[in-house]
């Protein structure tokens, strides 16, 4: 039982501590070996995150498959079909246009890239365009001078927006930009500084717990 606990719970914690200590060490101790180890660890972490994409693809299809089974009907089937078809186009295209001599998939050729640039950037811009419209309707709803706090929020927001429009700056400058920049550089900076500092405190606390092996969130014993 104790071996089981050690392998499942303590060993991962020890790994966390080792990796953290090595990185801390290389920051404060000048040593070539330590630097080399850290360099390797940095590269390894990149490779591990890249490997994880395989897992991601499995979860994508698993989730969509599950959805299709939960919601029978032509629409969900057709949507799953769109997903599979498009994925196959990407996989097929990158294999067909691969540069086998250099072991590269067909990403430098325009063919696969074309599918990506034709479909994705337009959709994403349109989606964030929606965000603009949502923000506009939210402004209409929210930016009302109900209380002192709400007034401060609305006035600072409006001033900052106006500052970026040359039609206002042209006639109201230097005052508009000066006030906007002043609000940005001082009161806003004060709040941001405080928020960033407490966030750092919170993150450091969690890291310390991690380093002392007290943070159990990351390690499991079940399953």
């Amino acid at each position: 039982m104790s071996t089981r606990n050690f392998i499942r719970r303590d060993l991962p914690l020890i790994l966390i501590v080792i990796a953290a200590v090595l990185q801390l060490g290389s920051r404060y101790i000048q040593d070539a070996t330590l630097d080399a180890i850290n360099k390797a660890l940095g590269q390894w972490s990149s490779y591990i995150t890249m490997m994880a994409w395989g897992l991601a693809v499995i979860y994508l299809f698993q989730g969509e498959w599950h959805t299709m089974q939960m919601k029978p009907g032509w629409e969900q089937k057709a949507l799953f079909g769109v997903l599979v078809a498009f994925s196959l186009i990407l996989v097929g295209g990158s294999i067909i246009y691969a540069d086998w001599a250099h072991g590269q998939l067909g990403f430098r050729g325009d063919q696969v890239q074309w599918w990506y640039t034709a479909f994705y950037p337009a959709e994403s811009r349109a989606f964030y365009g929606l965000m603009f419209l949502y923000l506009m309707s939210a402004s209409y709803r929210m930016l009302r001078f109900r209380s002192l706090e709400a007034t401060v929020l609305a006035v600072s927001g409006l001033l900052y927006v106006c500052e970026s429009a040359s039609i206002f700056t042209l006639y109201l400058d230097p005052y508009l930009t000066a006030i906007g920049e002043w609000l940005y550089n001082y009161p806003n900076n004060a709040a941001t500084t405080a928020a960033v500092m407490v966030m750092a405190c919170g993150s450091i606390l969690i890291s310390m717990r991690q380093l002392m092996g007290r943070e159990r969130t990351a390690v499991e014993v079940a399953s």
Partner: protein, 209 residues
């Protein structure tokens, strides 16, 4: 012709996405599904492509055999899919979490705390104009008042209650400005998407862009 097709697809994607605003429909869902597949499969392929070149080729030609370790650790992640062996994957993310811990402890004290403090306290003395001096002193007090919002063990009574009230004004001012920034960039993207639609019709009608 290929250009025209390209522009047409882009326009259809924009309009399909915007059709959300009217109501839920098949085209908007299909557009989402296409982007999800691009978002996962395309990146999966391109990351594995880089992985092949940067990690596996050096193993195969014998220049860096140690790369086998991250590859094995990466494979261990897949143990999550097998019943009863899910815990094995914790070895892989343990390393990542360890590096995250190290990164937090090495960079955050200096980057987010001490540099910020020294920046705050030196500003009032560096400023030359009266408005900058005023602002810089306001920042010093603003930081202290704003910090009082994030106290978790002390009750807000007496002076602390006033400090909280003033601190919240600073926070609101900041939230207003951050909100304004996002209005600005999302507007740029909205303009970008609208340009796609306008340009398609301009080209189709033979009007110069």
């Amino acid at each position: 012709m290929a250009d025209m097709l390209f522009m047409f697809i882009q326009m259809v994607m924009v309009l399909a996405t915007w059709s959300y605003l009217y109501r839920d429909n098949f085209f908007s869902k299909a557009a989402a599904e296409i982007v999800i597949s691009v978002s996962t499969v395309y990146f999966f392929l391109s990351f594995y492509n880089s992985l092949w070149q940067q990690a596996i080729v050096p193993i195969l030609d014998g220049t860096n055999l140690l790369n086998i370790i991250p590859i094995i650790l990466g494979l261990l992640m897949f143990s999550r899919l097998f019943k009863g062996y899910g815990w094995v994957s914790s070895y892989s993310y343990a390393i990542l979490l360890g590096l995250g811990t190290g990164a937090t402890l090495t960079t955050m004290v200096q980057g987010s705390i001490t540099t910020r403090i020294s920046d705050t306290v030196t500003r009032p003395f560096a400023a030359t104009l009266w408005q900058d001096q005023l602002g810089a002193w306001l920042t010093v007090f603003g930081v202290i008042f704003s910090l009082s919002y994030w106290l978790f063990t002390i009750e807000y009574k007496g002076y602390l209650a006033y400090s909280l009230k003033i601190g919240r004004l600073f926070l609101m001012c900041s939230i207003g400005m951050l909100y304004a920034e996002d209005v600005l960039w999302s507007q740029s993207l909205f303009t970008g998407a609208a340009t796609i639609v306008v340009n398609f019709f301009k080209v189709a009608l033979g009007i110069p862009i």
